[in-house]
């Protein structure tokens, strides 16, 4: 069946055209968002001489060695010492520099959390934390490098801003937005390549979720690498079941775009949140907290349950933990069943 391209917004036409195929991203251009960050920080650094890059021996992995070659005096390798790097970034920011502190998400959000909380977020210093290997995107590296909790942890900090872009173009826009924002920002990137989904004219605005597929029956809210899975799931639902699923790309987990989420809740009456992160405290929790206080409609969460993950190729690993499009399709059917029960008028006569 052909895809109705008119319901998609800012999604590359070739991506849209392939969404209903058996292997939707087989021919898609792919790039790890850590590498998109490395490209963007070169441009940001060129435009703003106050931008400095700090890294904890990951410049080759993330790709900021290019920044180091271009601006050697503005790149600082701290060695494998994330705690020191984070507090030093705070000291630099206090002088007016804009440090981007680069490491892996497990170390940024856990090893150095005390420094990140007390030396960066408490005084609300202008430090950007560039965290690669977020979620269980480092499939083959095993649990020590799979940051399935980073979004939840960072979201829990006061003064935090948490961004998890889905692909390269929106990653680059996120890096520019983070540099322009005055305050701490946590940027979450993938280790593994993910499809380039969006056009360069994507209207990226910090804190603003974007409807990338229209739909009226249900809304799938997704972040980072699961936006691609959400798009495939939505098209599959349309093709196989005639379900009209909206896809809301929520790149900024905090501050949450409450207006967009509540509008989706009101207009579609059911929500599925898809995140490559534990189901506690992340995007799903943020949405649930908002809905329960304002419009408690049926909702389902796609995310890592209470377990550490196995090691293996990225797509196989995330499939095992229920994060791929077939799982999103199942959760959507489930939430639609719930919605049907939830909205069925109660007959007093039947009760009597």
């Amino acid at each position: 069946m052909t895809v109705n391209a008119s319901v998609y917004h800012y999604v590359k036409p070739e991506i849209v055209a392939a969404l209903a195929s058996d292997e939707p991203f087989a021919n898609a251009k792919q790039q790890a968002t850590r590498h998109a960050f490395a490209e963007a920080i070169l441009e940001v650094g060129e435009a703003n001489p106050n931008v400095v890059v700090l890294n904890a021996d990951v410049s080759k992995s993330i790709g900021t060695n290019k920044f180091a070659e271009k601006f050697p005096e503005r790149e600082f390798n701290f060695g494998i010492a994330e705690q020191n790097m984070m507090a030093a970034a705070a000291g630099m920011a206090s002088t007016g520099l804009i440090p981007f502190a680069c490491t892996y998400a497990v170390f940024a959000s856990m090893r150095a959390l005390d420094q990140v909380r007390n030396s960066i977020h408490y005084p609300r210093l202008n430090v950007k934390i560039a965290a690669s290997h977020s979620g269980i995107t480092p499939g083959p590296d095993g649990v020590t490098h799979q940051a399935q909790e980073d979004i939840s942890i960072m979201r829990a900090l006061a003064n935090s801003c948490v961004i998890a872009p889905a692909d390269s173009p929106t990653t680059k826009q996120a890096v520019w937005a983070a540099a322009e924002y005055n305050g701490p920002v946590y940027l979450s990137f993938t280790r593994d390549p993910v499809p380039i989904l969006f056009d360069d004219d994507f209207p990226f605005e910090l804190g603003k979720a974007v409807t990338v597929r229209d739909g009226s029956d249900v809304t799938i809210i997704a972040m980072r690498d699961l936006v691609a899975q959400a798009l495939v799931a939505a098209e599959r639902l349309a093709q196989d079941s005639g379900v009209s699923a909206r896809v809301l790309y929520c790149h900024t987990i905090k501050p949450l775009d409450t207006e967009a989420v509540l509008q989706a809740a009101k207009e579609t009456g059911a929500i599925v949140v898809a995140e490559n992160n534990v189901t506690y405290g992340g995007l799903g929790s943020a949405v649930a907290e908002l809905l329960v206080a304002n419009n408690p409609i049926p909702m389902r969460q796609i995310g890592v349950k209470d377990t550490f993950a196995e090691s293996g190729p990225y797509l196989e690993v995330i499939d095992k933990y229920g994060l791929t499009s077939p799982h999103i399709v199942r959760a959507t059917h489930d939430v639609l069943d719930h919605k049907a029960r939830f909205t069925r008028p109660v007959s007093l006569a039947a009760v009597a």
Binding site: A90, G91, Q115, Y122
Partner: protein, 290 residues
């Protein structure tokens, strides 16, 4: 005794009175550690740091980071006397909605960084010193570390980086009073040989009596001790310094004096002040400041 030293000694006595008054009034505070480091702060703010309420937003000001944030009462006493805020504000210490809380925050004028989580301050200072080098700024950075705090491994990460980047615009001062909350540092988790450790980490090290304003004046004038190396002043201090019954007594780490103890402490400080004034050149400028 020259006028500068006399002047500073008098200030130290008055800072100690202020520390005790603050803690007595606020009902909590780190008495012993504030009294051990107050002479260091005195010399820094009155004779070393190029920082004042007038230049506090200037990028080239010297920076002071108090990594041992719990000894904040000493810092408050000195900043108030230096005019960063009215001394009357100190009466709000520990009260609801006051910015004068038990660890330093940037909400108080004159304070560069929120501290209190130990093992952060030297890293923050490293960041400031790197920034000063990058900006070709003459700003110097000073960080006061507790000795018990040095068990935090991040302090040594920071020490490595300070030496690696040849940060001779950075001076770390260790308030080596030898005691931490559960006992002597050498019994809790031994630090010695501490000078050798810092030398091995790439610092140029000097040791002084950290409660002697004469020795502190001299040693700060000599920083940086070596071009291309961060400086470390191992300041041998007495916890509770200046109050006989508090000195070297670990129970005063976080103890508030009762009325009798407070009166007795003030008597000792009054006597020391009277004795100092007697020795002074009657023409010396030692105008009161509070």
């Amino acid at each position: 005794m020259d006028d500068t030293v006399a002047h500073l000694k008098l200030k130290s006595i008055r800072y100690r009175k202020s520390v005790l008054a603050m803690i007595k009034h606020g009902g909590a505070g780190h008495t012993g550690g504030s009294l051990s480091c107050v002479d260091i702060l005195n010399v820094l703010y009155n004779h070393v740091l190029n920082v004042s309420p007038d230049n506090f937003s200037h990028p080239n000001r010297d920076r002071y980071v108090q990594s041992k944030g719990h000894s904040v009462e000493a810092l408050y006493a000195v900043l108030a006397e230096r005019g960063f805020f009215p001394a009357a504000h100190l009466e709000t210490l520990n009260t609801f909605q006051s910015h004068f809380v038990g660890h330093p925050t940037r909400k108080v004028n004159g304070i560069e960084q929120n501290t209190g989580a130990l093992g952060h301050g030297l890293s923050v200072a490293v960041g400031m010193a790197l920034a000063a080098k990058l900006d070709s700024s003459p700003a110097r950075v000073f960080a006061l570390l507790g000795d018990g705090e040095l068990a935090e491994g991040s302090s040594w990460e920071a020490a490595m980086t300070a030496a690696h980047y040849r940060l001779d615009n950075l001076t770390a001062i260790v308030d080596r009073n030898g005691l931490q909350i559960t006992g002597p540092t050498e019994e809790v988790n031994a630090l010695e040989p501490l000078p050798d450790k810092f030398r091995a980490f790439g610092f140029a090290v000097r040791q002084v009596d950290g409660n002697s304003v004469e020795q502190l004046l001299r040693v700060f004038l000599e920083t940086p001790f070596e071009t291309g190396k961060p400086s470390l002043i191992l300041a041998r201090t007495v916890k509770g310094c200046g109050i006989s019954f508090m000195e070297n007594n670990v129970k005063w780490h976080h103890k508030v004096p009762n009325d009798v103890e407070y009166a007795s402490a003030l008597d000792e400080l009054d006597a020391a002040e009277a004795q100092l004034l007697e020795q002074l050149n009657p023409n010396a400028e030692v105008s009161s400041w509070n």
